[in-house]
Symmetry: C2
Subunit: 197 residues, 2 copies
DNA sequence: GAACTATACGGAGATAGTCTCCGTTTAGCA
DNA sequence: TGCTAAACGGAGACTATCTCCGTATAGTTC
C-alpha cells in the first residue's frame, strides 16, 4: 500500500534482484556522496552496495546517470516548493526570497551537485538536463508570478535569474559555506531584480 | 635588459637548467589547460615540457601549485585593472560595470579557474589563497570608491560582492558561455548593490 | 680545465580510479 | 524440474597521480 518512491520508475520492469541492486546502489551512492562529495569512487560505491563494478556500470553507464537517479525525488521537491511559494499569496519580495533560499538549500543537498547542475543547464546530452528543465520551469513560474504582480524591473529574464542563483549556490557549495550564508548574496539578487520602493 | 617577468620570483636562485624547466613547464601548462581545461593530465604537461614527471612534481607538488604559478601575472593584471578603474573617475555604475566585466574576463582566462579561485577563497592552506587576497583587495578598492561616491546601498559588503561576481564567473565557465554573456547577470548585481535613481 | 659536490633530472613502478568483457549464476516461467 | 533470458561480478586493460632513487650536470674551486 505504501508508494515505493525510491524504486525505479516504470519502464520495462526489472527482475527482482536487479531492482534490489539498483536500490542498494542509489542508497550507497547517497552515503558516499554525502561523505566524500561528488568525486567519490564509483567502484567503492559498488562495493558498499555489495555488487561488482559491472553491475553498477550496467545500471548507470556514467557518473552523471547515477547522480541523476539519486536526485529523482529532488526534482519533485523543487517543483512542490515552487508551487507552494506561488500559492502562498505572499508579496513578491518575500515569495522570491523564500524561493531563492529553497533553491540554494535543495541544490546544496549533495556536495558538488551545484556544479553538475550548472554544467548540465545548457547541455541537452547530460542526463541531468531534464532535472534542470524542471528546475528552470519551477523558477520561471515563481518569477512570472512576481512579474504579474508588477514587482520586477524591466528586462529581467527568468533564465538569467536562475543562472545567477545557481552561481550563488555554487559559491556556497565550493567555498564550504552554509546555505544560510547565501542570504547576503540573495539580498543583492533580490534588490537587483525587484523595482525600487 | 628586458625584464624576465615569467621567471620564477626571487627566492634562492635556481640552477640554470632548473629555471629553464620551470619556465617550460609553465608554458606547457598554459597550453594544456587552454586545450583541455583544468583537468589536463599532469604527466602529459611534463611530457610537453620535455621533462619527466618527477621534475614537474618537484617544482609543483600539487596541481594547485602549478596553477598558482601559471597565474603569477594574473594577479598583477587584476590589480592594474582595478587601479585603472578607480583612477578613471567614471561614475560608480560605469566603474563597477567595467570592473565586474574585467573580473569575469580575467577569471575566465583558464577553464576551471573560477572554481579553483572560489574554493581557495576561504581556504588559507591553498596556494591560490594569496591570489584571492589580491583579488579581494582589488575588489575592495573599487567597491570602496563607489561607497565614497555615495552610490552604494546600505549594508553592501565588498566580500559578498566578490563572492557573487565569482559565482557569475563560475556560471559562465561551467556552462560554456562566453564572458560577454555575463552581462545580464552583472546588470542584476549592479542594480542590487547601487542605490536606485 | 679537472675535480668536486650540491642540485636537479627522469623514468620505472606503486597506487588508485574508470570502465569492459565474458564466463557464471539465477529469477521467473512453463 | 528444467529452461532461458536477464543479470551478476570480478579479472584485467587502461589511464592518471605521485614517489623513489640511481644518474647526470651546473657551477664552483683550485
Amino acid at each position: 500500500m505504501t508508494a515505493d518512491v525510491s524504486t525505479q520508475t516504470a519502464q520495462k520492469p526489472l527482475r527482482a534482484d536487479a531492482q534490489r541492486n539498483y536500490d542498494n546502489l542509489i542508497e550507497a551512492a547517497r552515503e558516499a556522496f554525502r561523505e566524500r562529495g561528488a568525486e567519490a569512487s564509483l567502484d567503492d560505491i559498488a562495493k558498499r552496495a555489495g555488487v561488482g563494478p559491472g553491475t553498477l556500470y550496467r545500471h548507470f553507464p556514467t557518473r552523471d546517470a547515477l547522480i541523476d537517479a539519486m536526485m529523482r525525488d529532488w526534482a519533485e521537491r523543487i517543483d512542490a516548493d515552487s508551487q507552494a511559494v506561488v500559492d502562498s499569496g505572499l508579496p513578491a519580495r518575500e515569495a522570491l526570497q523564500i524561493w531563492f533560499t529553497r533553491f540554494v538549500d535543495n541544490i546544496g543537498l549533495y556536495h558538488g551537485a551545484a556544479a553538475k547542475v550548472m554544467s548540465a543547464m545548457d547541455d541537452p546530452k547530460s542526463p541531468i538536463y531534464r532535472k534542470c528543465q524542471v528546475l528552470a520551469a519551477a523558477n520561471e513560474k515563481v518569477v512570472a508570478k512576481a512579474r504579474e504582480d508588477g514587482a520586477l524591473r524591466d528586462g529581467v529574464d527568468a533564465r538569467e535569474v536562475m543562472r545567477i542563483v545557481s552561481g550563488v549556490s555554487t559559491v556556497i557549495d565550493q567555498s564550504g559555506l552554509t546555505p544560510a550564508q547565501a542570504e547576503p548574496m540573495l539580498a543583492i539578487v533580490l534588490d537587483g531584480i525587484l523595482l525600487p520602493d
